[in-house]
Symmetry: C2
Subunit: 312 residues, 2 copies
């Protein structure tokens, strides 16, 4: 087996790529733009070309490369089939390894991007040393990746770990992007946090730093750090929803650890201080010893996890 | 490998036992009483003695037996360790295979009883042919067993699939047995159904068959079959809770099928007709194609699943 692997993380704007060795070292990383024209038909040829150029530059032959791991923004089943397509790229459903192999003759393994990030965090990030883990990505939405006994739980239709669309609130009147009402990501994402903040601020006239400037997840937690009372209330509400969601997940998969990443997690440990009490409150007692930790790999989690599909 | 296996299902009143061949045939089944005196210290010796007697009776030697599978009413981890004991038996925490091997020299594998029942239903019951399945047992409480890619998800502390204690209702005022409020089994178990019925009947004086006699899960669904309007309302509420719970589970593990068993499921297909609409309402669209089916093995699911630990 070759001693190198490539990790590829296909996003809506850029494709992140990394060259790893079999000691889990990220030797080099770079990006290429995601060309979405013509239903994203240039994306995989571009990825292959970029890898071939990197191999030439480094003097790496095909036999030196154990494989290419690739994470894509859509549901991917165990075999590497993109089930139902990737809306953000314009991709229809197809078998990813064969499609990439049309341009480069190196073994390919594919998975969903959130699952790749989860796998990366288990390999070299906040979940290192654990084999039973749930990764939670708090960005525009809430992504999830579930690892059981060291393996990704992809689910019957590639929707394993789609925890952002877990029903969490019966009283919601607004629709989630998915069409349902009361999904976890309507509260526990960056967007959800801003929505909770807007609702709270509209309730009364209590003074708050948050009343000036534009509302963002960062602004809310910055205000919490300055002990802004309204911001603390909002963070408590956010933490209650997220902690409740994690408690529900714990009753299903009983993980050792939750690894929390994504934009909102940049708030740091203070975020966990709002989630932990709610988790303890709602979790079944036998699941309460699950640890809550921050993700460590940031935007590199996806390329790490994609490479881990090959190297782990 | 021997061609026989024993499946043992340790309950609070009786121990059910079965002799299987490697073609998945249940050749014989029997029961012995569960002797709970002295912290249940006689249970495993009694099991061993009963198996040895059966082997003698049938002329089966130790080398003819591939192993003994055993399900016990408590959390059991991957290795067969009873984590935290089994309250109903008076057992403390111990390593089950070694403990049983003190009395009988045949390989032993152990798991939780709900997990064993789930595994049995996958092997020869309602989940036959599926590899990604959630078994839901609607009895006094709500038990769960989760199977991913043909393997039981036991969880970090043996609490995988403890879905009865999933938080589902923020407005609950009464405590669950576990100490939390709003757990799924406060609504979606036999006990929960009776509780919902009691609450509904107390709301007004609308005539109903249910106002005479003692309330039970069976009585509610019998009344539904006679088109009793109040009973239908109660079943709808029950179905809403259970369907919501299953939808939440689907967003985590995305199974192919839910297999629904336990006492309440004796109502038959009519039960599913109340759960399916709620499941479709709350489930993330990519998880909605999960099938809901009834369990088929009844009280034998546990011995089947225990034997499957050996034979599958």
């Amino acid at each position: 087996m070759g001693k190198y692997a490539f990790g590829v993380d296909v996003g809506g704007t850029t494709v992140k790529m990394g060259l790893f060795d079999d000691k889990a070292n990220l030797l080099e990383k770079w990006e290429i733009p995601t060309v979405k024209e013509n239903k994203g038909s240039a994306v995989l040829p571009d990825v292959a070309e970029s890898i071939l150029m990197k191999m030439k530059e480094k003097g790496i032959s095909e036999s030196d490369v154990a494989g290419i791991g690739i994470g894509v923004p859509g549901p991917v089943d165990e075999t590497g089939m993109l089930v139902g397509g990737a809306v953000n790229l314009g991709w229809e459903s197809f078998y990813i390894p064969a499609a990439l192999n049309a341009y480069i003759k190196i073994p390919v393994k594919a998975t969903n991007d959130a699952n790749a990030a989860a796998f990366g965090e288990m390999w070299q990030g906040g979940g290192k040393g654990y084999r039973s883990m749930v990764a939670v990505t708090l960005g525009t939405g809430v992504g999830g990746g579930i690892i059981v006994n060291g393996k990704l739980l992809t689910g019957a239709t590639g929707a394993g770990g789609e925890i952002g669309h877990m029903h969490l609130e019966d009283e919601e009147t607004e629709c989630c992007n998915c069409g349902n009402r009361g999904c976890m990501e309507q509260y526990a994402s960056a967007t959800g946090l801003v929505r909770l903040a807007g609702r709270r601020l509209a309730e009364d006239d209590k003074p708050s730093i948050l009343r000036s400037g534009e509302l963002s997840a960062k602004e809310v937690f910055d205000a919490v750090k300055e002990k802004d009372e309204v911001a603390v209330e909002i963070a408590e509400q956010f933490g209650d929803y997220l902690g409740k969601g994690l408690a529900v997940i714990a009753s299903v998969v009983n993980p050792e650890v939750f690894v929390i990443g994504g934009g909102v997690s940049k708030a740091g440990e203070i975020l966990l201080s709002f989630v932990e009490p709610a988790f303890q409150k709602y979790a079944f007692k036998q699941c309460r010893n699950a640890k809550l930790v921050l993700a460590r790999l940031g935007n590199d989690a996806g390329i790490y996890g994609a490479a881990a599909l090959i190297l782990l």
